[in-house]
């Protein structure tokens, strides 16, 4: 269980003065002669029971106030295209010349590795560069401007950040921040490091980042055998690729995912392996994402908030406390019976409730939640082999995609739905809308005609049919116009080339002028 605001848990200790007061009151009752009260022991029992339930209720309220989370759920998220953040560890230990290939420094090997990967990536993949030493900094924000990225990679050095140390966790979190919230892209962090960790909590940083749906690929640079290095402050320290410690953290994070049946999201590749480049490339750009701007359904892991459970328990305990304190005993039995009946409601209709919940989300425009509910509904219907519910869930899911403008996914989904009588008309109607949005007015017209065959009285279908039919003759000429726009292969003149090399040089000089030296007593390697 995780608590967002654990400090509120301290409120639980207010029970102690209340308990002391209870003891004092009970002692006070003992002082009175027994004949003073009728059934004095029963009164004491009631007081104690009431206190017990009220204390339980108070504990539940305090826990609810700490924002408790436990358990995880997968949430479907639509993503279009991919974005990559190159995270470079620029701590002093990365200057050690022990990279297995050519004995380059770890940092130089990292930048060369990154450049090779970037060259292979499609041009429309935006890239950010984040550097980390004692703290993480965004060096180049998410951009398609490969020239800016490459110019920076050429001059990466420990002098770019003055904060001493090595804080890979800070780098991971900063790299995650470099993906703006407004882009619906599949995000990956490519981290080059020797895993020397002098500050921060890498495990928690990995966990937090993975939970927000970001994939992390860590490329280990350097030799596993320790080597003496010169630190930033001129001292000496032993440094190596701390692979074992890193793998242990990665395994812990991935195990959490495995427990929720989610694919691991943190990967490790030793940069010195002969197949490292191809492995990293395959991890950065899986086959499904190679198509330009293909829309994919990704999953994000979310912890489930449980405050409502504790609030509900608190309410029950308060009521129980009140009942034991005030209500007549024979009435208690009746209440208990009603409660038992209420709580023993059957869960047979769970998938119908799932669909209903999805529809509620859809109506309140929580489309991502609706998508998740319909997906679950479809899975449940599949397990129960209930074809009608499966079709209904599938149809609702496809319609939600349609509302989200994910026309390709919606079209694929509509095609896989098994038709049932009551779905025939809406299925044809929505297929018509998808076809129209995709510019295929001929298919759209066919679907609207099919819909009208099923329900000839439907005015909306008639109107849509007229609209798409009126667009059919115009469609071909529009396509021709669009094709001329996009690709303009510019052949640059020698003068332009000269100016560009001048600017490239100026960009490099500017980065170099930003280099700083650190002044601190903290370990710096």
């Amino acid at each position: 269980m995780i608590f967002d605001k654990p400090v509120f848990g301290l409120l639980i200790f207010l029970i102690i003065p209340a308990f002391l007061m209870l003891i004092k009151r009970l002692k006070g009752l003992n002082v009175l002669p027994k004949s003073f009260f009728k059934n004095s022991s029963r009164i004491k029992k009631r007081i104690i029971t009431s206190f017990f339930f009220n204390a339980l209720a108070w504990i539940c309220l305090c826990i609810a106030l700490t924002s408790p989370y436990f358990g995880q759920k997968q949430v479907s998220v639509q993503k279009t295209g991919m974005a990559l953040s190159v995270l470079l560890d620029i701590s002093h230990s990365m200057e050690t010349k022990d990279f297995p290939v050519n004995n380059h420094s770890r940092l130089y090997a990292s930048t060369e590795f990154a450049k090779t990967i970037l060259k292979k990536l499609p041009e429309n993949v935006p890239i950010s560069v984040v550097i980390v030493k004692g703290e993480g900094q965004i060096a180049v924000p998410l951009t398609e401007d490969r020239r800016a990225v490459e110019n920076f990679l050429k001059i990466a050095s420990p002098q770019l950040i003055s904060t001493p140390g090595s804080n890979p966790a800070g780098g991971i979190l900063r790299a995650a921040e470099s993906f703006p919230h407004s882009i619906g892209m599949s995000s990956t962090i490519l981290f080059f490091t020797d895993a020397e960790e002098l500050s921060g909590d890498l495990y928690n940083a990995l966990l937090t980042t993975v939970k927000s749906g970001i994939k992390i690929i860590i490329v280990g640079m350097g030799d596993k055998n320790e080597k003496e290095i010169v630190t930033g402050d001129g001292g000496k320290a032993m440094s190596a690729l701390r692979e074992d410690a890193l793998l242990e953290k990665i395994e812990r994070v991935n195990n959490i995912n495995r427990r929720s049946n989610i694919q691991p999201q943190v990967f490790y590749v030793n940069g010195g392996d002969s197949s490292a480049l191809s492995r990293v490339f395959n991890l950065v750009l899986p086959q499904r994402e190679i198509h330009d701007n293909a829309t994919i359904l990704d999953t994000e892991i979310q912890s489930i908030p449980r405050f409502r459970l504790f609030l509900f328990l608190a309410l029950i305990f308060f009521i129980l406390g009140m009942l034991f304190c005030q209500i007549l005993p024979d009435f208690l039995g009746k209440i208990s019976l009603i409660t038992v009946i209420f709580l023993s409601c059957s869960s047979e209709n769970h998938n119908r409730i799932q669909i209903l919940s999805g529809i509620l989300d859809y109506k309140t425009q929580n489309y991502n939640e609706a998508t998740a509910e319909f997906l679950k509904g479809e899975e449940l219907a599949d397990l129960q082999e209930n074809s009608v519910l499966k079709s209904v869930s599938g149809f609702n899911l496809a319609t939600t995609y349609l509302v989200l403008n994910e026309n390709d996914v919606a079209a694929d989904k509509f095609d896989t739905i098994e038709t049932t009588d009551f779905l025939n008309f809406p299925l044809e109607f929505n297929k018509g809308i998808v076809a129209h949005r995709k510019g295929d007015n001929i298919s759209a017209a066919r679907h609207f005609k099919n819909a009208l065959k099923i329900d000839p009285s439907n005015v909306d279908a008639k109107i849509n049919l007229e609209i798409v039919q009126s667009k059919i003759p115009m469609a071909s000429s529009e396509n021709q116009q669009q094709e001329t726009q996009v690709s303009e292969s510019s052949e640059t003149s020698p003068m332009t080339e000269g100016i560009f090399s001048l600017i490239k040089e100026a960009d490099g000089k500017r980065w170099q002028s930003q280099q700083k030296t650190s002044a601190s007593n903290s370990p710096d390697y």
């Binding site: 009631r46 007081i47 609810a64 951009t143 619906g184 829309t295 304190c325 510019s490 600017i503």
Partner: protein
Amino acid sequence: MFEFQNPISFLLLLLIPIFFILNHLGVLKKINVALTLGDCNGNSSFSFQSNSLKILSLISRLFGLLAFVLLVVSLANPCRMRRQKIFTSRGSDFIFVLDCSPSMAAKDIDNKTRFQAAKEVIENLSFRLQGNSFGLVAMAEEVALLVPPTTDATYFLKRLGMLEIGELGDGSAIGLGLSSAVYHLTNSTAKQRCVILITDGENNAGSVSPITAAEMVKENSLHLAVIGVGTKGAVPIEYIDATTGKMYSGYLESDFDERKLSVLAQISDGKFLFAQNLNSLEEFLKTFTDQTAENQTYHIKTDVEPLYEKYLFLSMLFIVCNIFIRRIVLKDLL
């Protein structure tokens, strides 16, 4: 937008009238301490004699009631919903080439310096055109790409905010500034790529002629907007040099030739404005970006900010007050 995610919980409020009805019917009974002394009316319900105690008893009941209501409100899960556009297609690329030479500190644009006015319109534009990419080239005696075209508006605005007059020396290398923007836009996959030059001076630095740079803009099919900011005549000027920390103040004789800037727009088939106030600057940029910004597809993502903690905290506060009054002041047993 404020919303309850679990409104069905409000049905629990029905327990309040049920409680009062049951109380009235005598189903709920407080413990009546039956005293053995006959003259104390031990079997009748207890009531406070003092007015102040009566009021305190009433207040404690009110606190109890409020605590319950707030608890139910918390259970209904009040949330603030923020709907955010998630863009699924590529927008346009805009690179601002911003003059940061000392003359931009002249205070003649609606009581703001030219530099402040330029920064303000750029900021407004980036808010209005979310989903598009914005880049920044700072230009004075030297030229520097501060931000490559990025969708990361937070980074862009932060870096824009940090830019100061005099950071790159005295002078205006307009040709070099424009060339730098062209260099960083030529490989972009955006359908519309635009350069917006904001300056108040003539080209007097750098090794590239503005005419050559304007031709490069045209050669690479980029859109160019040239904006000359400032008024003519003597204008007050005051700025602190970013490198030396020295403060300069006085009057600047402003007489730049806008025709030279308009030529750049003509060469590149771009637009030109001689902006003497903030409104015309805003209007011009709005028209220019409306013509060049791409219509992007997007879906709406809803971020939910839970607010139950505030209500729950209040509820717990009322509970504590209620218990304090009942147990300590009124000395209730139960």
